[in-house]
């Protein structure tokens, strides 16, 4: 296979190159001609509603499903024509972290090590390293079936990173973990990010902000957005808006005073309990919000308002996500 000259994405050489990847199940097109690449050092957050094609894409890249057309290259190995070579470079955590429940984590990892052609000292060290990184120490000798969801997920993670692969693909790595465990897994991913290309799929939008260097949203099998989390947030209508929360009920008077500030296009009022949040949208969306925040603060001081919070909005990822993906609602309509 000849190596094509393609512009390397920021960060380094492309480790995963996906080209025109398509998967049809009968009449249903799960993944529709998508293409992107992931470079060393990147952590790609793969987002999309349920049924958008995230897992199907991951299953094709890891060689579990055969693409209907198109292909993916992992470290230069074509997943369709040299499947095994590509699979050797990949660590994969499938959805739901399946494992052999009757085995203990240690025997399970020993099995993975053997399949990955690690033996003797190298295998022992790899197992110890992976178990340390995922904090499995206490449960290594317990059957996987008897472990909690969080531990099972971590067994799956340990399996994926066992051979220190250059490419790591994880389908919902933090699903089912408690907040502390989520934090630890994110830290682990962050630590490994430097010299790997990592793809994670997730529903949790905060996760994208927390660990991903890039976010890719797919909907109905197509890529609908691709950029840094910051760039995606900039597409939100909340980007550069200013929110101020005041104690007391909303009054028309306050709303009018805020609306009359220079450069305000519209204003939204959200009463909640004994406080009210006013969100101010500037006329020119690209303008910096700091001036507007200053102006609102000055007004609040002059009027002696009881300010509980005042901040410039970076944009809301969930709102961008909703505006870009309509799979679920479209399907709901079809079904009705």
């Amino acid at each position: 296979m000849t190596k094509e000259d393609r512009p390397a994405p920021a960060g380094g050489e492309p480790m995963i190159v996906i080209e025109n990847l398509t998967k049809r199940f009968g009449p249903f097109t799960a993944v529709n001609n998508i293409g992107f690449s992931v470079a060393r050092g990147e952590v790609l957050g793969f987002l999309g509603p349920n049924g958008a094609g995230k897992s199907t894409t991951m299953k094709m890249v890891t060689g579990f499903l055969a693409p209907t057309s198109g292909t993916a290259r992992v470290c230069g190995h074509d997943i369709v024509t040299s499947t095994l070579a590509a699979q050797r470079e990949i660590g994969y955590l499938p959805e739901g972290a399946p494992a052999y429940g009757d085995m203990t984590p240690r025997s399970f990892l020993q099995f993975i090590a053997r399949v990955r052609r690690l033996s003797g000292r190298a295998a022992d060290e790899a197992i110890e390293r992976a178990a340390d990184a995922t904090e499995l120490g206490g449960v290594l000798e317990q059957p996987i079936d008897t472990l909690s969801k969080g531990f099972r997920r971590r067994v799956g993670l340990a399996q994926a990173i066992l051979h220190n692969p250059p490419v790591l693909i994880m389908d919902e790595p933090t699903d089912g973990l408690d907040p502390n465990q989520k934090f630890e897994v994110r830290k682990l991913i962050g630590r490994m990010a430097k010299d790997k290309a990592i793809v994670i799929s997730t529903h949790i939008l905060e996760e994208v902000d927390a660990i991903c260097t890039r976010a890719l949203i797919i909907d109905r099998g197509r890529v609908v957005a691709d950029g840094t989390p910051g760039a995606l947030m900039a597409r939100s209508r909340y980007h550069n808006a200013v929110s101020i929360t005041l104690g007391g009920q909303s009054t028309v008077e306050i709303a009018n005073k805020l609306r009359n500030l220079p450069g305000i296009a519209t204003i939204e009022v959200m009463p909640r309990g004994d406080e009210t949040t006013f969100t101010l949208f500037p006329q020119a969306a690209s303008e910096s919000d700091t001036m507007l925040v200053d102006a609102v603060a000055r007004l609040a001081r002059e009027e002696h308002w009881h300010v509980r919070a005042l901040y410039g909005e970076p944009g809301r990822l969930d709102e961008v996500f909703r505006s870009l993906t309509r799979s679920d609602t479209a399907k709901g309509k079809d079904a009705a």
């Binding site: 579990f64 499938p94 399946p98 052999y100 399996q159």
Partner: protein, 244 residues
């Protein structure tokens, strides 16, 4: 080869990680003994050989072997571990063969544990141990044939019960295809060659030939090619499911 060995070891250890292996072996040995001594009237026959014992093997295997083979692939599909297995750098043939060989080795262990039978006949009389050895070899090959069929049918579904029932049905056809129940049905209208071809697919025909103490190359070829065919079919089924 490494991968084949890794799969084989994992699968074989898997039988013994749960009570399945012990329950299976106990029931296997118990029914073998009960059938031979009570149903078969072993003592009344007055023969110091294992013919009666081996005669029951096809019928016991018919139900016990699909119980081993039903989980081979269906279980992986149900728990989702098949996604893990097939995304590991394991050639498909190694996965298919590794699983089959582990199941075959397990049934071999169960079969070997019937050795008290052999001790008994040698204590009671002076049997032809060559014939007995041939019987064991034939029985082992026949178990492999049943397992290969069951392995393929287990790959078709994620439901172990379906895998079991369909395997029993197909194994039954392969067992009885040489008996009048099948040959009579064809004999009335099909040419003699067709009837004898169908009859030649019978496990019983080939197994009985071996248990008489003659290990004919044709019988061995029959079982080996039957196993190979079903395993190739198994690989094709697993690969087809990959294509979705």
């Amino acid at each position: 080869m490494n991968e084949l060995l890794a799969i084989f070891r994992r699968e074989l250890a898997g039988y013994f990680a749960t009570p399945l292996a012990f329950i299976f072996i106990v029931i296997f040995l118990f029914t073998m003994g009960a059938f031979t001594f009570y149903l078969g009237g072993y003592y009344e026959s007055g023969q110091a050989d294992l013919t009666i014992f081996f005669n029951f093997h096809p019928w016991l295997y018919l139900f016990l072997i699909p119980a081993i083979s039903m989980r081979l692939w269906a279980e992986e599909r149900r728990t989702g571990s098949i996604e893990l297995l097939l995304s590991l750098p394991v050639p498909l043939w190694a996965a298919v063969l590794g699983k089959f060989l582990a199941a075959w080795a397990f049934s071999g262990i169960a079969l070997a544990l019937t050795f008290p039978m052999w001790i008994t006949v040698n204590y009671l009389g002076d049997p032809d141990n060559g014939v007995i050895l041939a019987g064991y070899i034939g029985s082992f090959f026949m178990a492999g044939g049943y397992l290969a069929i069951g392995s393929c049918l287990s790959a078709v579904t994620r439901n172990q019960v379906i895998a079991f029932v369909v395997s029993v049905a197909v194994c039954f056809l392969f067992t009885v295809s040489g008996l009048p129940i099948v040959t009579d049905f064809f004999a009335s209208w099909a040419p003699q060659q067709v009837v004898s071809t169908i009859a030649s697919f019978s496990f019983l025909t080939h197994f009985n030939a071996i248990t008489r103490g003659v290990i004919d190359l044709r019988d061995v070829i029959y079982f080996v090619s039957l196993i190979a065919t079903w395993l190739v079919a198994c690989g094709i089924v697993v690969d087809m499911k990959k294509a979705g």
